[in-house]
Symmetry: C2
Subunit: 242 residues, 2 copies
DNA sequence: CAGTGGTCTAGACCACTGA
DNA sequence: CAGTGGTCTAGACCACTGA
């Protein structure tokens, strides 16, 4: 490990983290108070405080006035989920990526769909349907709608060259996103497009993205169940790792 | 919003964040240098630095020596995924929760399974199978293995009272977890246990948890596709929210 | 009410790196 | 090589809250 070049607050942070990970400091245990740590590491209070703040921000400890700082009891209620950017990942690993464009239409939003009406915000929607093809194999069906009012520039993009997701990611800063994961059986059409038997279990990823309160895009991606896994890894220090 | 009681570094952070969100500061744009911000907010460099460090930790800006700080170009490659603790969530919302224990055995790991051999680490495994039942409805099938070498205390726990996941979460500090999401068709047995037609699309959550390098538990949870969604939300500032 | 953490200052020296 | 961020100090005042 890089030991020599680490800053002092980083070394203090790591040493406390190591004590917590090793079990020397059990959940609920009290962390030495700032004055003790100042003496132990021979540094100022600001430096100790920076290390403790980082641990608190990572959820490893909890700080309470008058009482002190304590090792958190772990609560695995959330994890960092890696959302695949199929195009970027395929190319990064040297594979062939292709977005097979099936349909592209400018439409008014469906009046009965609250989601579409919100997304459109009084303007038209660009509806794009296509298949993500990796190394010649269809991997996922994508059904996307983009608000032309929010993103007029999308009207001129050639989606046979770049997938809509990759283009949007690179051009439109988002501020909020919501992803929903579920499972669904492939209907006849989806099955044919993905080259799987009808009724196959598929992983469905639905994502909506906003910029401030304005909707940008809404997408539904359907993966054949066995062809793609989404993996989330978590280590306590990851929440701070850059 | 709470405006009066906010600390100065927090106000600086929020104001810069607001400029970024509003588009006044576009991705790639240069953030005023620390000296400018010191003048603008009439504060010391440490206070400005704290605000900028927080923005950098949240991924909103990138700091480069000599060059300055710049608004990041968004990369939505990971999101915080909320993993349900069915027991805690059900009880929190006033529902009835029950873990219907189907099987409980102490077994040696299967020699042909690398995963089981690693988890067992030379000791036996506790295998637990049960169904999460919420308000009388079966919601998920859980198939779990726990390393008795790593967690001897688990041998004495009554899993008709507490679900294994909830017990482990409260008693064994983990340091690393990996979650895999996929879709699979319900076989006859799973379908019967969940009360759905055979072949139904199910969302499968597989999670392995470690304490340091030692495996603690490995679990596979099968949800009927329409009965449970997993939702991940992301806002840039969330990575710092407590 | 005393001990704890939260914040802030005014300064300092340094490391990095692009003009 | 000068401008920028990274780190650190020694102190200060304050807010909170449990013994």
């Amino acid at each position: 490990m890089k030991l020599a070049k680490l800053s002092l607050h980083e070394r203090i942070r790591r040493q406390l983290e190591a004590r917590i990970m090793s079990g020397a400091l059990q959940p609920g245990a009290r962390i030495p108070v700032e004055q003790q740590l100042m003496q132990e590491f021979g540094c100022s209070r600001m430096t100790v405080s920076k290390a403790l703040s980082a641990l608190a921000a990572a959820g490893l400890i909890e700080r309470r006035k008058r009482a002190g700082s304590f090792v958190s009891r772990p609560r695995v209620h959330s994890m960092l989920l890696h959302i695949p950017d199929l195009e970027a990942e395929t190319k990064a690993s040297g594979g062939r990526y292709e977005f097979r464009l099936l349909k592209r239409q400018v439409l008014p939003p469906a009046r009965q769909s609250k989601l579409e009406m919100e997304l459109a915000d009084g303007g038209p929607l660009l509806a794009v349907t296509g298949v993500h093809v990796v190394n010649g194999q269809p991997l996922a069906l994508e059904q996307r709608q983009v608000s032309l009012k929010a993103v007029p520039a999308v009207a001129d993009v050639d989606f046979t060259v770049t997938s809509p997701g990759t283009w949007l990611l690179q051009h439109i800063p988002w501020t909020e996103a919501e992803t929903r994961l579920s499972a669904a059986a492939a209907d006849r059409r989806v099955a044919a497009l993905l080259g799987v038997p009808a009724g196959s279990a598929c992983l469905v990823v639905e994502r909506r993205t906003w910029r401030r309160a304005k909707g940008i895009t809404s997408v539904r991606q359907t993966f054949e169940g066995r062809s793609y896994d989404m993996v989330a890894r978590f280590r306590p220090s990851d929440s701070r790792a850059r």
